[in-house]
Symmetry: C2
Subunit: 587 residues, 2 copies
């Protein structure tokens, strides 16, 4: 079975040295979140993930969630682990203290998201959507509803889902068919079928609070006629206790390539009682409150699985002897494979991506908190624009690179990597959902180029480039060579951005065809941006912790030498346009 040690040192490095967003540091509500407190939390988090949750990964893969007489059963051990998990308060980490939460910022909870993604993504999903539903209700529902539903969700005794997809409508929610019929008392009866519902049913919680999008009988066509409803599995009585079963049944659960411990359900709503959340016909934008935060978490899932894949590859490379390296140290006998240049390169590739991602994510967590909590509306809006811009990048880049890293991990294990015994191929299968769910990576890329580069607040990508330039500015002579290299790619990104924006009005197909490439270029430059920030600290504080900073500097160097060059070919490939693609006659 794979092993895992939570990267607490790297996380604490970020929390202590890169918590540099002035606006974030002004937020009153997080003033007391000290490094000592965070260290305590991360140490506890490491323990539960390493000891309790990690074994669930294999258990869930070998004994998937099943549907038995209409009831979903989670894999062996999930129930007991979940009980401990909520007793220790992990579902409440980032939630509002008003409803029983611990009020931790994303700068802390994102680390937890990463750890539990490393330990078991399938198990994580049972509480992850609860948090999504919590955020949505917290943001859009009335106080009455919040008081009634949120405390139990924060506690983890009730869980949540987001019910969007239908058989003919995944990416395109305008095709939605589920109906909501208003009742004399102002509630609704919901009827329709939802598919691919993560944790749509299971045996871990007393109740499940579904957030469902549907059309009222008088709704306009398309995405402008979608409203949001809270539909509990069991009706919640006025006193907050659980009443009768609502009209929701589980039609089937999916047999999937990976995350087999997670129940992916077909849910049939048959006149199920629901309450409208927020204004009528505004359901999609409300759902997106939840979706956007969720998309960042999907990126973090990719990061988490990458980390555990890296750790196990590294251990194996230090144990497995095979072939003579160029500097054979074993008197003609086989060396450890970690002495082979190409294995070292693969490991550093993983490490440079993973640590760059973690740093970028930490930067984004600060922006997210500013976007949600700052008092100055202008600052709040600017942060929100940055978060919007980076959401599809983090979701897609981290999930795609998670595939590269888990695949490379299999290669390091050779034939053993392809067998089930080692648990390595499971990383690959589990991570393979991340480029698909919460909007495929192509949908993310389209979202990025068409909606995020510029908006009513102006040219967002230029603001990002300005931010990047000012945050990477350094007089340190040792950072300069990196910045020179970085500027070359920043310039490519700038040209690529201009090329894209110019075409948004009149050459949309060029933009669509280039979208994935653009996302990659922006992503690789963003990781380089994070590395420059890390380098600034590493050179400045070098004497404090030589070994640690030496490691950072060399990993950054690898990133600039070996990974960042990828950004350029995406540009070159993209700007050849789309006319040939659009005119092509497929047989």
């Amino acid at each position: 079975m794979p092993s895992y040690t939570a990267p607490v040192e790297d996380m604490m490095f970020l929390f202590e040295k890169l918590r540099d967003n002035k606006n974030y540091n002004e937020l009153e509500k997080y003033k007391e979140v000290s490094p000592d407190l965070v260290k305590d939390i991360l140490d506890q988090a490491a323990k539960i993930n390493q000891n309790l949750i990690l074994p669930l990964a294999k258990a869930g893969d070998e004994n998937p969630a099943i549907l038995e007489n209409g009831v979903v059963r989670t894999p062996p051990g999930y129930k007991e682990a979940y009980q401990k998990y909520i007793e220790d308060g992990w579902t409440s980490l980032s939630c509002d203290p008003k409803y029983g939460g611990q009020g931790m910022p994303r700068t802390v909870s994102a680390f937890f998201d990463e750890m539990i993604s490393s330990a078991s993504l399938a198990f994580k999903l049972y509480s992850e959507l609860t948090l999504g539903a919590y955020n949505c209700i917290h943001h859009h529902a009335t106080d009455e509803i919040k008081d009634k539903y949120l405390p139990k969700m924060v506690e983890g005794r009730w869980s949540g889902t987001m019910c969007l997809t239908e058989p003919v409508c995944g990416t395109d929610l305008g095709l939605l068919k589920t109906k909501a019929v208003e009742q004399p008392n102002g509630t609704y009866k919901i009827t329709g079928q939802k598919i691919f519902i993560t944790s749509g049913d299971h045996d871990l919680t007393e109740n499940i609070i579904h957030l469902v999008i549907a059309r009222t009988t008088d709704a306009p066509k398309g995405t402008k006629g979608i409203s949001l409803f809270l539909v509990p599995k069991f009706i919640v009585k006025d006193d907050g206790t659980i009443g009768s079963r609502n009209g929701i049944s589980t039609g089937s659960i999916e047999t999937k390539m990976g995350i087999k411990g997670s129940a992916t359900c077909v849910l049939n709503f048959d006149e199920a009682a629901g309450i409208m959340i927020g204004p009528k016909n505004k359901g999609l934008s409300q759902m997106f409150t939840m979706m956007n935060l969720e998309r960042i978490v999907v990126g973090i899932q990719g990061l988490g699985i990458s980390e555990i894949a890296y750790q196990n590859s590294l251990s194996y490379a230090k144990e497995r002897k095979q072939g003579k390296s160029n500097n054979n140290s074993q008197n003609g006998n086989a060396d450890l494979i970690i002495e082979h240049a190409d294995i070292r390169k693969t490991l550093l590739n993983m490490k440079s991506i993973i640590e760059g991602e973690r740093a970028l994510c930490f930067w984004l967590s600060q922006q997210t908190e500013v976007s949600l909590n700052h008092n100055d509306q202008k600052i709040k809006q600017e942060a929100s624009d940055m978060v919007s811009l980076m959401t599809p990048v983090v979701k897609s880049l981290f999930s795609d690179l998670g595939m590269e890293i888990t695949s490379d991990a299999m290669q390091i294990f050779g034939g053993y990597g392809y067998t089930k015994d080692q648990g390595i191929e499971q990383f690959y299968r589990d991570n393979r959902i991340t480029p698909i769910y919460e909007g495929t990576n192509s949908v993310q890329a389209a979202d990025l180029v068409f909606r995020k580069l510029s908006n009513k607040n102006g040219n967002i990508i230029n603001k990002f480039l300005d931010t990047v330039r000012s945050e990477t500015n350094s007089n340190n002579e040792k950072v300069k060579p990196f910045i020179d290299d970085f500027n070359h790619y920043l310039n490519i990104l700038k040209k690529f951005s201009e090329w894209t924006i110019e075409r948004i009005e009149n050459k949309k197909d060029d933009v669509s065809a280039a979208a994935n490439d653009y996302l990659k270029t922006l992503g690789y430059v963003s990781l380089a941006f994070s590395w420059i920030k890390v380098l600034n600290v590493s050179f400045k504080d070098y004497q404090e912790n030589k070994k640690f900073y030496e490691d950072k500097i060399n990993t950054a160097k690898f990133y600039f030498d070996k990974v960042l060059p990828r950004a350029e070919q995406h540009y070159k490939s993209a700007i050849s346009g789309s006319s040939n693609i659009m005119n092509f006659k497929f047989n």
Copy 2:
């Protein structure tokens, strides 16, 4: 279940229009292999693969091979299909007529290899290794042994294996421990454990002929002390009939990520009777006769799985409506996803790679036949050098791009691609073995840079570049722009080759660290080379078949615009060297 239509038209295009190797065309033995005969064979091949073998893919995935009381049982339906398969003579296609074969050249049999890889890789493997063993015995054994063993193998009534890997020795065969003790009658008793033996045991054939590498008691250490032995599952009596069971038992079979219908065995040899093949201590080079041809076939496996993944993605894209394209033709309703620019781009990416690979493989098949059969030793050697050079490229590039293509197929299917129902994720899992077995792709890359670029016959890569230049030479004005573009990348390949060769003596780690990048650059340039050859014909014969050649020209254009630029970043990434990688201190 996925569907499949064998791409006979494209194969016949290659056979008719690109069979342009002068030396190949001089081979007496293939003079009668006419296009009409080949068309007949391919039509028959298409039928058996589409109708009989395709359904075995899902059957094998759902009901993997099992080990039951020491006996391996293949999945339901395999036995009946295999019987029909050998009755129709498909195992004998490329074999020597002297032993009952049909004597078809690789220019034909490679097409069959592709088709059956599309239909069911797991099923294919039961006969594939037979052919490998056949080739090895045919090349190295005495006439007596050939007469005794080959006819039954050609007929498919007996199968073959190659037994190399042991628990501590995969890539590095110098670590081999299996012992061969000579008996008074000149035979050997073989004792040891072999792992990852494809088709090591099964219930499809009357006998299994294992080719086993082992050490005699007086063997020198390392790879210079390895001999090759023929070790049958059942002893073959002098009259050719089957006698008693030999000392070989199946310890276990692997539970794998994919190709579940194929039995991957741990074989225990316990004083099993064996016959030495070829001279003592030369076993490794004899085994490599088989391995090298086998490695090309692994590349073809990647091509075959890519083809079926492409076909099913294309069909789905023409059925599935989702979202409005930029040129919405449905009055505001959702378009077919094939109208979306990014989906079209993904499909063309697949198509341009697949057809380029097929053409490259056809070029290589001609070279292979020349290397095996030409009367002029110099011509034979030159062809052999080309085959040696391209073997690791075809094996690695096609298998890696197979991962890209099967992954993109899943993305096109969205959430449905991740479920088992559609059969799409199985392509991905089945293909995932191809970058690993027959030597991981990193081993291939090391083989390429250290052993294939130059050898005792001189600078092979320069000869390849000369061949490429002369074969792509064209006065056609329409091909010129492609050639101009091509020359840019050819120049990069040239510089990259020089950079590599300069460092082989004194900067080996730079070469090792760059090996995968070098292989990719050479691979992408080689596909471009094939496309130029296709373009020459397409423009020349345009009027003969406008629709077909229009399609080729536009697909080539896509390749040059969108795919070939990848070659450059590999160069840029690689030449930063390896000192940072080698000095890095991994925790």
